[in-house]
C-alpha cells in the first residue's frame, strides 16, 4: 500500500482510537461500538415509496453499468431499482439524491450528464463518491451520511445482485440460482471444464 499523507493520517487516527478504546470500560466500549456501527450503517432517508422517475432510473442504470464494467444485461438491475422504489420506503428519495450527486460531479467535469461519461470515468466518480471499505464507510458516515447510504443501498446492492447472478457465469459455475437448472448438470463438471483443473481467475 502506498504511504500517502491521507493513509498516514487514517493510520494515526486508528491508532489513537484503539488506545482510547482500550482505556474505556466495557459499557462505554459497547456504547461506542454501537454508535460507530450506526454511523457506518445509516438508515434509509425518510420518504414514501413510489414510481421511479425515468431520469433517476437512467442514472441508476448508468451506475450499474459502470459497476459491472461493461455491456451486460441490465434488466435484472432495472427490476430491482423499480421494485425497491415502488415498495420500500426511502429508496425513491435516496435514488433521487444519488442522481443529483452524480450529476453535480459530472457537471464539474464539464459533462452534460453522468450517463454520457465513459465507463471508466463513471467508475472513478462512484469510487470517489462512495468508496469501498469499512473505514471509508465510517469516514463518509461522519462527514456526509448520504455517501455511505449510496454505498450501502445502491453500490452494494448492485454488486450483491451481480455476485448472485452474473458472477456465477463469469466464474464458470454455470447458471445461477433462481433458474430451473435441472437435476443432471450438477452431477457433471461445469460445461467446458472437463475434469476440472485450476479455475481461470485463481492463483492457488
Amino acid at each position: 500500500m502506498e504511504i500517502t499523507r491521507r493513509n498516514a493520517l487514517i493510520g494515526a487516527a486508528a491508532g489513537v482510537g484503539l488506545v482510547g478504546l482500550a482505556g474505556l470500560g466495557l459499557h462505554e466500549r459497547r456504547a461506542l461500538v454501537g454508535r460507530l456501527r450506526t454511523v457506518a450503517t445509516p438508515a434509509l432517508p425518510a420518504g414514501a415509496p413510489g414510481a421511479l422517475p425515468e431520469a433517476d432510473l437512467a442514472l441508476l442504470l448508468a451506475t450499474a453499468d459502470a459497476l459491472l464494467g461493461g455491456p451486460r444485461d441490465l434488466a435484472p438491475y432495472r427490476r430491482m431499482f423499480e421494485a425497491r422504489s415502488r415498495s420500500l420506503p426511502g429508496y425513491r428519495e435516496l435514488y433521487r439524491r444519488l442522481g443529483r450527486a452524480l450529476e453535480r460531479r459530472a457537471a464539474r467535469e464539464g459533462a452534460t450528464s453522468f450517463v454520457t461519461l465513459p465507463v471508466q470515468r463513471r467508475q472513478e466518480i462512484l469510487s470517489d463518491l462512495c468508496p469501498p471499505g469499512r473505514l471509508a464507510r465510517l469516514r463518509t458516515g461522519l462527514t456526509d451520511p448520504d455517501r455511505t447510504r449510496f454505498r450501502l443501498y445502491v453500490v452494494r446492492e448492485v454488486l450483491d445482485l451481480y455476485a448472485a447472478t452474473g458472477a456465477w457465469r463469469t466464474l464458470e459455475f454455470g447458471p445461477p440460482p433462481g433458474l430451473p437448472r435441472g437435476l443432471d448438470a450438477y452431477t457433471r463438471p461445469p460445461a467446458g471444464r472437463g475434469s476440472g483443473g485450476s479455475s481461470p481467475l485463481t492463483t492457488p
Binding site: A83, Q123, L159, Y186, G196
Partner: protein
Amino acid sequence: MSTPATATPTVAIVGSGIVGTAIAHALAARGVEVDVFEKGPAYPYPHREPFRERVTLRTPRPLYRAPAGLCAVSTGGDYPASLRAEIDCVEGGMASRWEALCPRQPPADFRTRSLYGFGADWPVSYEELEPWFDRAERLLGVAGTDADNPFAPPRSRPYPQPPFALAWDDRWLAERLAPAGLLIHTTPQARNRAPYDGRRACVNYGTCAVCPIGARYSPQHHLERAVATGRVRVHTDTAVRRVVLDHSGRARALVVRPARSGEPDAGRSQREREHPADHVIVAAGALESPRLLLLSTAPGHPDGLGNRSGHVGRNLIFHHLWLGRLRFHQALYPGRFGGWTGQSDQFLDPEGRGRHGGVKVELSSRQAYATWEPVKVWETPGDVLAASATADDVDRALAPAAHWRPITFHAETRPGPGKRLELGEGRDRFGDPIAHVHYELDDFDRETYRFCRGLFERYRDAAGAEDALLADEGTYYSGFHHMGTCRMSEREADGVTDALGRVHGVPGLSVAGGALFAGSSTVNPTLTMVALALRQADALAHELVSGVPHAPDRSSR
C-alpha cells in the same frame, strides 16, 4: 380421558409449524374440529410471491414477518449466535423455509443413558417409533436410499421417493476419502425427486428457502388440505398468551389476542378472548412451548403448567455445528444444487461415545461463501462486497470459492445445568416475559469438539486438501435445532410429559415437537418430531372420538 364422545371433539393447537400442521391434518382426517393459532402472518404457498420478491426483484417486503416485539428471546452464557435469528414466526413455522433434511434418529439415541451413561433414555424406543417414521416419510415425501449408507437404522419399507444423486464434486471427494475408510452417502430429504402427492418435482432452482413450485416440502401443503376439509381453521396473526384450566385442573381454553392489536391498521377485533377446546396442544417450538407453560400459572401450578418437578425449560439441548472448509488445487465448483447432497452417518455412534457425543459429518456440495452465516468464522460475502468497487473485484474475491468445500460437524450434546430456558427480564409487545436461554458448553461438549477436530484432520489429510479451516471450539451454532425443554418421561419427577406428549398432572394438555426430546439426538430432528406428532395425533384422536385412553400412561407406574 373423561370427555364423552357425544359432540364433535375440538382441539386447539398453538403453532402452525410442521408439527402442529401434521397433527391438525391427522386429527381432521379423523373427524376432529381443530383451531390452529399462529402469531406470525399468513405465508403464501407455493412460495411464488416470496420467490418473486426475494429472487426476481431482490426486494423482500416485510409482509411475512410477525410484528415487532412478538418473537423475542434473550440469551446468556456463551452461545455465540443469535437465537432471535433462529426462530421464525410465520404460518408454517421454521419449516416454511427449512433445508428439509429428514434422517431418522438412530436407535442408540433413544438409550444413551443405558448405553453410554449420559442424557436420559427416552420413554419410547426406535422400534416403537419405526412405523411412525415410515408414516412421517410418506407424509413429507422423503427422497432417499439406504443402499449407500451402511449406518442407516433398520426400516420396514423403502423411502417413498428415490434419492437425489451426489454431485460431481461429492464423487470426486468420495473417491479420495474411500481409501482412508471414510464414506460419503446421499441425504434423505423432503424434496421431490419426482412428482409426489400433488407437488411438483424439483428442478433445482436452488433457492430452496423460497421454492417457487413447492418441490421442497412446506407445512402449508397439508395445512391447506386440512383447511379444505372444513374441520380446520388457521388463525394467523394471533398470539396465545396463556393456557387456562377449569376448576378440576383440566385444560379448557387458550387466551388469545390479535398479534397486531394496538396498531392503527390492525383491521381485526382488538379484544383478547378465550378460545375453548376439549384438548390443547402446545406445538410452538422448544423455546416458545416451555415459555407458554411457564406463563400459564394456575392453582396447584404456581410455577407453570407441567412444572411441578421443575423440568419445564430444563434439559435444553441444541445441536452444535462447527463449520469447517477444505481447499483443493482442483476447481470443484460446489454448490450447483440447491438441495442437499453428501453427508456421513459414520460417526453418529462412535467408539468413545459417552466421553463425547456422536457426530454427523456434513459434506454437502455447497459454496464455501454461504449467503448467510450464523456465526462469523471467515470472510463472508458481506466482507467481499464491502471491499469491492466493481464486478471485477467481486469476481476476483469469489473465484477461490470454486476450490473450497465446506465440511460441517453436526454434534450431539447432553443436557446439563448450564443449558436451560426460563422467563427473562425482557417483555414482549403485550408485556409478557420473553424466554431467556442460558447456554454454555460443558466438558462433554469440549471433548466432542476435540473429537471433531480429529475427524477434521482425518478428512483433510485423506482428501489431500491444500488448506483447511475449522471454527474454534466457542464458535458454533445450533443448526436451528432446539430440543428437550418439555421432555418426555415415564415419571413426573423426571420430565414434563408422558411418552405421548400428555403433560403430567394437567389433563387435556399436550406438548408436541422438539421440546419433547428426552435425551440426546445426533441427527436433524424434524422427521423424529413429525413421527412423534403423528403418533400423538393417532392416540389423541382415539381418545377424543371414543372417550377411552389410547394406551396406558406409563407415567402412572
